[in-house]
Symmetry: none
Subunit: 424 residues, 2 copies
């Protein structure tokens, strides 16, 4: 049995013009593939009614399923609904859908806002289409058939599109009798993708079952484990556990775990509280920690000691230390971390001071030089390590923040390893 073919259409001037990077097509590909469809094409066209209609016709003629995103908003340049109407109803007058109308009114009423007249357009649908309700926004989706092809038009914003995809589209197009698929993702940090592949060894061989692969995003290298067929859930869990053992201590968690949630869990398990003192990252570590719901039982807060004055006054870094070694030094990182524990009474602290660039380099301290210290109040001491993070400012800062979370996690667990960007 061959898998039914699927195609993905993205609609938007901002996409063909390059102003916005399309990520929906990738999201849709992964989701449709997971349920057993064979994605054969992505296509992107402008906010042009004729071009959208032509693409829908062409893709529908060659696929069992077409999913489009974008062009369902309330403005004049949102033309996907009209284009679908041209294809399935010959451009006939559209009808107001009572459910869509009620959803729209409830959406605005729930927010205490008056609905602009322009939004009423979003309650229209082609006569032969049905509405796909959108709990996260004002643009309902549309479902229809074009010949033998099932077509779904979803809104462009991912946080609206993805829930509609999962609740409505995927259940509708999942092929009957497709083999069970179970997936598991192990997150690792601090090691490159090729070095991680070497640690995983023959587990990554092509054709092996379960399949093991790696992907990298935001400097986190993930191990993807996929099992198909009978007993897939048990086999994928066992394989993931063995992969974790093979790459320890770089593995920080599975599925939705982040470096921050993993560190918070280690603190929680040991009854330790955590604070931060951030210079070049300017709040990123605090932002990552507080992105985790329920972090307040462990994370007390901290200081953004961006200026030297803040470093001295708020966490007690001696001005003489700053003068002697510079703000980007082991001595200052250690003093920031010790001061943060002292001022807050927290059990563990993270301190970061570095040169995020593009300016600020000095001899011996190129852009990307960052000192990270972790202080353990129970042990009465800390350790600072030096890194040279490559990349532009945003990448340097992101890698510094994530490295700090991994180092604090290792300290609590009594683990240690080299980090790819470490330069003693």
């Amino acid at each position: 049995m061959t898998a039914p073919r699927a195609a993905i259409l993205s609609v938007g001037d901002e996409l063909v013009l390059g102003t916005t990077l399309d990520t929906n097509s990738r999201t849709l590909s992964l989701a449709l593939r997971d349920i057993g469809l064979d994605v054969v094409e992505h296509r992107t066209v402008a906010d042009d009614r004729g071009a959208i209609a032509a693409a829908l016709r062409d893709l529908a003629a060659r696929s069992a399923v077409v999913v489009s995103t974008g062009g369902l908003g309330p403005t004049d340049d949102d033309l996907t609904r009209d284009a679908l109407n041209d294809v399935i109803d010959g451009g006939a007058a559209q009808v107001e859908d009572p459910v869509a109308r009620a959803d729209l009114e409830a959406w605005f009423a729930g927010r205490g806002r008056a609905m602009a007249a322009i939004n009423l357009r979003q309650a229209l649908r082609p006569r032969s289409a049905r509405i796909v309700r959108n709990p996260g926004g004002t643009a309902p989706g549309l479902a229809a058939t074009v010949g033998a092809c099932r077509v779904f038009c979803l809104p462009g914003p991912p946080r609206e599109m993805i829930p509609m995809l999962e609740s409505d589209v995927l259940p509708a197009v999942r092929p009957a009798g497709a083999p069970a698929i179970a997936k598991r993702t192990v997150g690792t940090f601090g090691i490159g993708e090729s070095a991680l592949a070497e640690m995983l060894g023959t587990r990554m061989a092509r054709g092996r079952e379960p399949a093991v692969g790696t992907t990298a995003s935001g400097s986190v290298v993930s191990v993807q484990v996929v099992a198909r067929g009978a007993d897939a859930a048990r086999r994928v869990a066992a394989e993931a556990a063995e992969c974790r053992a093979a790459v320890r201590p770089y593995d920080f968690g599975e599925e939705d775990d982040t470096l921050a949630s993993a560190l918070l869990a280690e603190c929680r398990a040991r009854g330790r509280t955590l604070v931060v003192a951030e210079s070049c990252t300017g709040g990123l570590v605090g932002g990552m920690l507080t992105a985790v719901a329920g972090s307040s039982d462990v994370f007390a807060g901290g200081w953004i000691t961006y200026s030297n004055e803040m470093k001295s006054r708020e966490v007690g870094v001696d001005a003489a230390l700053l003068a002697a070694h510079g703000a980007v030094s082991a001595e200052v990182a250690l003093a920031m971390a010790a001061g943060a524990c002292r001022a807050s009474g927290a059990g563990v602290s993270i301190a970061i001071t570095g040169i995020a660039g593009p300016g600020g380099a000095v001899p011996g301290k190129p852009v990307g030089t960052v000192w990270i210290a972790v202080h353990d109040a129970a042990a009465g001491g800390g350790r600072a390590r030096r890194f040279e993070f490559p990349g532009p400012r945003d990448i340097i800062r992101d890698r510094a923040a994530k490295t700090a979370l991994q180092l604090a996690r290792w300290m609590l667990r009594g683990e240690d390893a080299s980090i790819i960007w470490e330069r003693a």
Copy 2:
């Protein structure tokens, strides 16, 4: 004169499967648009000879220029060259190109590596095509004509593709006397896309020149202005200025400006320093401000006062105030902001306290309730405003941080307006 049409083809199983995110299409769109071509479509197909050939034929029939990326490597699943050969030479035997052969040998010799026999395949070209030399890798590109369309096939890795695009493709396809295209992006925050469209009114009418459209990303709604033809640069600047006037004070900047860079510029222009005291955003505002290179002349840092103890000890919020009103209150937001200025000596402070969820709601304070205060030390006072941000935890926090930046900017400029999520 209308701009010549261009289309972009990406080739690769990893792209249609979603394993890899395609960024080449966006890069190509921006480059082709900048020289005056009208990019009308992106298409992505698998490593399938028939699918690649069909896409090349279809796109060439409707465009003056087609640029493909990917599928030029040495392995069995690199099929773009064969597909092009099918289209232009009917699948006839290909010829070895002496320049490509010499480049290949030089590439391997320069690295002290033996050339595998498989690489010789990369010196082949269709008889009717010419080679596009690749100084950064082993895969030469190909240039050919399909009917009236000029087709360029480039390798997939961006660091190989981009230099070939710039040195070879763009000079070849730049239209003589093409209408200049100028574009300008105005960023706005605090207003919904449909309300913004109403403020822009007939400026957004289709077919108008310059063209005005809107896009939304990360709660920032951008106004895109595109002018074509004589005097485009001047006209696009004038139109952008008029759009800004029409949507004031929601407009915070143009092109690469962010809410953070715009606020920093206002502080700099007035010689004011800035600090933050963040509770539910946990460092996000600091992170956004320090994402801007050179922010240290204005931004001193601040406090992540996640726990009530941090609020009291670090920025002097009276414990009685916390007990009487709760941490999420106008009184506490104002006290945090005043305390942050007092402790730091900064001229302006931002304070944020709220319920990011999913837990923590209390009667009268649903998830998403956030108080934001801006304190002006010169005026000796501050103002707190209440918001109910919809969405999940990360969206609530992101919107709260960006709203705070906009409110501080308005305070400095003496501007004011309602914010879409405000609930008195």
